[in-house]
Symmetry: C2
Subunit: 452 residues, 2 copies
């Protein structure tokens, strides 16, 4: 009887593996890896510090290296491929699906790519050319070509016999695709329909003619939204003339969904493309330093604005003590709007019709929260410093900044999107610059005007 | 011939619908909705401002309201249910899957729940009790009970005839489950195996005995990780005695994966549970104000720390101008580590074996980036203010804060996780407090010591 699944199984191995590797017991690890499923080996690699990862990879049986590569996340996979010999890469890609093959080949530097391709046989070389012919992040790059096609004018009995002759169906097959003699897509016959109807019936009468097909150039995120909305398991991909080219399956869509959702998360922190938690220090430092540099410019700009008010700060040093509060609150309120709108764009909820409403809504939220926290901060400062005027100035600046933050947080991603700039990546810098500068101007400017 | 899918189709409708509703053409909208698939109606509702949403919902045919509710995201669904009469809720849940039924019922206030249940017939009431009997966010709450089971000792021919008699298979069926007479799970027979093998073969000889089953109490995120790793389409759910209880299908898993990934994104911005972009202003304001309040405390704490140095600021107002730079850089660097670790925890890559490595790695990145940006800022300040000592003090403070930020960003989520506090929700407040206070102390403290 099969056992219920052991929780966290591959990660429990990690401790053991790390210990064995550190004490040089390579044979033992190799034996253990031979018994591990490719998907679990992939998790093990992803969870290992990069040095251990390199050792581990050398102990993976070359025959399954291709399967393991298919299961790895992109960032980790590229790191491993960068250390492989061209012949080994060629060998590992032999049994890869069309989609993974394209992704791996695209990631190779030009010189390595040439070596890899020349190490392939003619058939694989053709597959490689085909895999690379579709645009990155399109349905074409996502699809596989392992469709099972049938003709509309045969009986189910003929289909059943054909399948039995053909043998094992490709993974994730829930529909057979009905095509005419020019390979034009006509509709889908689900396995369920095939199994539950009398064998003498004709395919044409039972097939789903309304089955939607995906244009080869559709963006992968849009494809994912369709899958999610329609609960598809697979969907046919066609060219402009409705010729069937392949199919997209849900396992690849799951990767797209996770990558899209993580893209917003990681990009907002300036971690674009850094999905490998255990990458080498230098690689990670380099990726992150760009963002820190951009932020330093923002911070210097804010300092520059503050320097206009050096005279005021000289007279009233308490302003320096309180100067961080308004920009901080604006930053948080703005991030809230920004994140919500970026997510709304990513899941396809925001368009021209509702963005005006959205802007008004975020403005109203900013105003409401502005009133609430302005009154509170005015009270706190009035009591702490026993200075009602100062409390009032801080309250006014906070209200202004929260309103601006709400509107900026909602509009910046929409504007960036229109300019074809990734809102998740650029949004938070632009926003912080706005909320910092408006916050400092509002607080120190009003203070200079009223208090000095 | 079916058309290739029209891109953005439901959102193009939104403009039309909004216009029609505003001009009171309800009949027209009702007619259009009747022709729209439930999943597209759901998208339309999710993309509508809440007032339009309410109007739209009243125009949805009561017969398909249940189907539409199943497709809606949780937050939007709850908003709609809150406005429905108990009888209508009872009617809408009639054809709902076990999992959605549980989710809807759990969301109801006690009094409404009683009214809804008393509006149900006996059979539905039993289903309701059963759906509520499993723990929220467990495999039990995620599963459906529509499994197709067969016995091990029959031939494929018997199975084929049984299925034909039974009619239409449940959506997402890729495996038939083999059980003994006590309903104990023995293994799975894939439709592919059923279709490609000779009809006289016995199920026992062909079934996959290694098919993993999911324990009823497993957390839904863990279930999702298993699905993702193994590329499953469905998986059987069993109780502690291996009795088959139901199955989890990939369409529900896709929702879990999206929700989990979005949870980190939204929580880090203090938007926990706010997945409805178009919720009413008051509802959103309330949800967000908590976070702003917490941040105000943090900002006040930082101001309080700065107030220790009021004397220093009085003597050297330039310090006030520059005081924002160090906390800002620490905040960004810390967020990078924090986000990466929170994501690592969410996808199951981080455990006791590798967390020490992770800490050392983030410390090293902090130090490297600290050296880089300290040198740069020292140069900028030395040139701007023609004060090498001031540049040195700022550089030292920045270096310190970036190192602390790296370590804090990596360790805070791990510590919070151990304390059973959601790292995505609490992590960034704790981190900001640390980087703000350390940043101010390091800069103003060192300045007081060396410059005054």
């Amino acid at each position: 009887m099969p056992e219920a699944f052991e929780q966290d199984y591959p990660l429990q191995q990690l401790k053991q593996v790390t210990k064995s590797l550190n004490s040089g017991q390579f044979v033992q690890v190799r034996r253990m890896l031979a018994k591990t499923a490719p998907c679990d080996t992939a998790l093990l690699l992803e969870s290992s510090p990069h040095k251990i990862r390199r050792l581990l990879w050398q102990l993976v049986d070359p025959d399954v290296q291709g399967d393991v590569l298919e299961e790895l996340s992109e960032d980790v996979r590229l790191g491993i491929i960068a250390q492989m010999e061209p012949e080994h890469i060629a060998a590992a890609t032999e049994d890869m699906g069309h989609d993974d093959l394209g992704e791996v080949l695209r990631s190779l530097p030009d010189t390595v790519y040439k070596d890899v391709v020349s190490a392939m046989d003619i058939q694989d070389r053709e597959r490689a050319t085909q895999a690379l012919s579709y645009q990155e992040r399109s349905a074409g790059a996502l699809m596989n070509t392992d469709t099972v096609t049938i003709r509309p004018d045969v009986t189910l009995d003929v289909v059943l016999r054909y399948i039995r002759l053909r043998g094992e169906l490709p993974e994730g097959t829930d529909d057979l695709y009905v095509v005419d003699k020019h390979n034009c897509f006509l509709g889908a016959l689900s396995l369920s329909t095939l199994l539950t109807n009398p064998p003498e019936k004709i395919v044409l009468d039972l097939m789903d003619e309304d089955c939607e097909s995906i244009p080869i150039s559709m963006d992968e995120s849009e494809v994912a939204q369709l899958f999610e909305r329609h609960n598809w398991i697979s969907a046919p991909v066609v060219d402009d003339n409705a010729h069937l080219l392949g199919r997209v399956t849900i396992d690849d869509i799951v990767d797209v969904i996770r990558e899209d959702a993580e893209h917003s998360l990681l990009s907002l922190a300036g971690l674009d493309d850094e999905e490998d938690t255990f990458a080498p220090v230098l690689k990670s430092s380099k990726k992150r330093s760009v963002w820190l540099g951009v932020n330093l410019l923002t911070a210097l700009a804010a300092a520059f604005v503050a320097s206009f008010f050096e005279g005021t700060l000289d007279v009233l040093p308490i302003l320096a003590v309180l100067n961080g509060i308004v920009p901080s609150m604006g930053g948080v309120a703005g991030s809230q709007s920004l994140t919500l709108v970026i997510r709304g764009i990513a899941v396809g909820h925001i368009n021209q019709t509702n963005q005006r409403f959205l802007m008004m809504k975020e403005l109203a939220i900013g105003a409401l929260n502005g009133i609430l926290w302005s009154l509170l901060i005015a009270g706190v400062i009035a009591l702490w410093q026993w200075d009602f005027m100062l409390g009032g100035v801080l309250a006014f600046a906070m209200f202004m900044n929260l309103v601006v933050a709400g509107v900026a947080g909602a509009s910046i991603p929409i504007i960036l999107k229109k300019m074809n700039i990734d809102p998740a990546l650029a949004g938070s810098v632009v926003l912080t610059t706005v909320t910092d500068i408006v916050g400092i101007f509002a607080f120190l400017g009003t203070a200079t005007w009223l208090l000095v």
